[in-house]
């Protein structure tokens, strides 16, 4: 983005405005469509403003980790493929893609969203492996929240494909909680939710807060080089938990 445009956004912000007319604590329009990929055990297409991605969940039997022989495995991947942005490149995932994937993963794992013990088939030998793959198609900013929403929505519609592997009847993935990640950016002291691509490009820091059904926090990640004060962090935590509640009720009822 040109410097001039950055100044424009910055000046708007000083006047309390955003380029697209939103309030600072307002998200862009969100649409979620599930079961969009019939080869996947669960899937969701998420659009937040101009950001667009598809999450597919593949589930197959595999070997448990030695230290958790009675628990299933969740593996989250996210690729910033060059189709989605002129600045993304082919090749092994870079640090931002890895960070995004790991924060989505921790949100799901740490919230206990999936009851891993129910993914055990034969202790120590065979468990369900749940692969969550986030395929970003259009980067319009705040991939983090879109990916998190997509992952949760896809999991909510996923089935354990027991029949295919002669392991009985198919059943839904055992869901215990519905984590929602909400990201804010800080720009010159102002806090804004759900940053657009332009806003991201002038922000010094993002803070992602993933919260549970009961309003507790299950994961957080500060990303970026600007420091935050305790007050800013506490403020973001508060509005992120509120916003997560809204989003959960609107989009993620089981």
């Amino acid at each position: 983005m040109a410097e001039l445009h950055k100044d424009y956004i910055y000046n708007l912000m000083v006047k309390g405005e955003r380029e697209d007319g939103r309030a600072f604590d307002q998200c862009r329009e969100i649409t979620i469509e599930t079961n969009v990929i019939n080869k996947a055990e669960g899937s969701a297409r998420v659009k937040i403003g101009e950001t667009h991605l598809v999450v597919g969940v593949k589930i197959q039997p595999g070997t448990p980790f030695p230290d958790t022989p009675d628990q299933g495995v969740i593996i989250t991947n996210l690729e910033l493929i060059p189709l989605a942005s002129p600045v993304f490149e082919a090749g092994p995932p870079r640090e931002d893609a890895i960070e995004l994937a790991r924060v989505v993963d921790r949100g799901i794992r740490e919230s206990g969203a999936v009851d891993l013990s129910k993914l055990c088939i034969t202790e120590g030998e065979k468990v369900w492996m749940v692969f969550i793959d986030v395929h970003v198609l259009d980067d319009g900013g705040n991939i983090m929240d879109a990916a998190s929403l997509g992952a949760t929505a896809a999991l909510l519609t996923s089935k354990l494909p027991a029949k295919r592997y002669d392991l009985g009847e198919d059943s839904p993935v055992p869901i215990r909680d519905i984590p929602v990640a909400v990201t804010a950016v800080e720009v010159g002291g102002t806090i804004m939710l759900d940053p657009s691509l332009n806003e991201e490009s002038i922000a010094g820091t993002k803070l992602t807060v993933t919260s549970n059904q009961n309003g507790d926090i299950s994961a957080m990640q500060k990303s970026g080089t600007h420091p935050l004060t305790s007050e800013q962090i506490n403020y973001i935590v508060d509005i992120a938990i509120e916003k997560a509640k809204e989003l959960r009720e609107k989009f993620l009822v089981i």
Partner: protein
């Protein structure tokens, strides 16, 4: 699906199609914001999305050509696009498909208009059901037009196969798995062949017939591609090369 006894009975295939019938096609032009051109293409159970960036700078520099644009093509399958999860990243199959798909499109692009620059074509397969490379070429061809890249013609692609000793157009996954031959073809609007691959078993005569059948299938797809572009760009296309 286990191997069925017959893939075609009384001239009707298991999915209800006639031998020379294509699967349903759905085309959306310009579906992505960041890309210079894009196209979403459904071809039966295949869901692919193509994006074009360019002409733009070439990185790394030593890949530049001094008298023409470099065309690059990356065919990639999403991990969740197939029954058994695919490991992310390129494999030998996708590298070969990327090569032949690029070569299917290069002859129609006016590369010499853009020396030292790159035209990048990205095709992502979100859902696969046999025929992904042909779906990708069809999508990419539209995405190139959507990006405003000057072209001599669209490129249209579909496969012909053989099941139960019968030649049929546009194999689906089961027909591909249990069939006797598969032959993807791509053509320009003048019927020049820019992609041709085959594996399986065809006699010399079957091959001739199959090639004719493929050309007809491609022509039908060409009309749909043109219609989709006309809908998006009604004015510009009048009398244009795309026509």
């Amino acid at each position: 699906m286990n191997k069925p006894e017959n893939l075609i009975e009384n001239g009707i295939r298991l999915d209800g199609r006639k031998p020379d019938e294509l699967r349903p096609i759905k085309i959306e032009v310009g579906v992505l914001n960041r890309a210079d051109g894009s196209c979403y293409f459904e071809f039966g159970g295949n869901k692919v999305i193509a994006a074009v960036y360019g002409p733009r700078e070439v990185h790394p520099r030593h890949m530049q050509k001094s008298t023409s644009a470099v065309v690059r093509y990356r065919y990639n399958m999403a991990s969740f696009s197939v029954e058994e999860r695919k490991r992310p990243g390129p494999d030998r199959r996708s590298i070969e498909i990327s090569k032949v798909s690029r070569e299917a499109l290069e002859p129609v692009i006016f590369q010499e208009y853009f020396p030292r620059s790159a035209i990048d074509i990205f095709v992502e397969v979100l859902q696969a059901d046999a025929g992904t490379r042909t779906a990708g070429i069809n999508a990419a061809s539209i995405a190139l037009a959507d990006a405003g890249i000057p072209m001599k013609s669209l490129v249209s692609s579909c496969a012909v196969g053989k099941i139960n000793d019968t030649l049929v157009l546009d194999l689906n996954k089961d027909e591909d798995n249990y069939g006797q031959a598969d032959m993807p073809v791509a053509i320009t609007k003048d019927g020049n062949i820019t992609l041709l691959q085959m594996d399986g078993h065809l006699s010399r005569d079957e091959f001739r017939e199959a090639l004719e059948m493929a050309l007809k299938g491609c022509e039908a797809i060409y009309e749909m591609q043109k219609a989709a572009l006309m809908e998006k760009y009604p004015a510009q296309l009048e009398g244009d090369v795309i026509e």
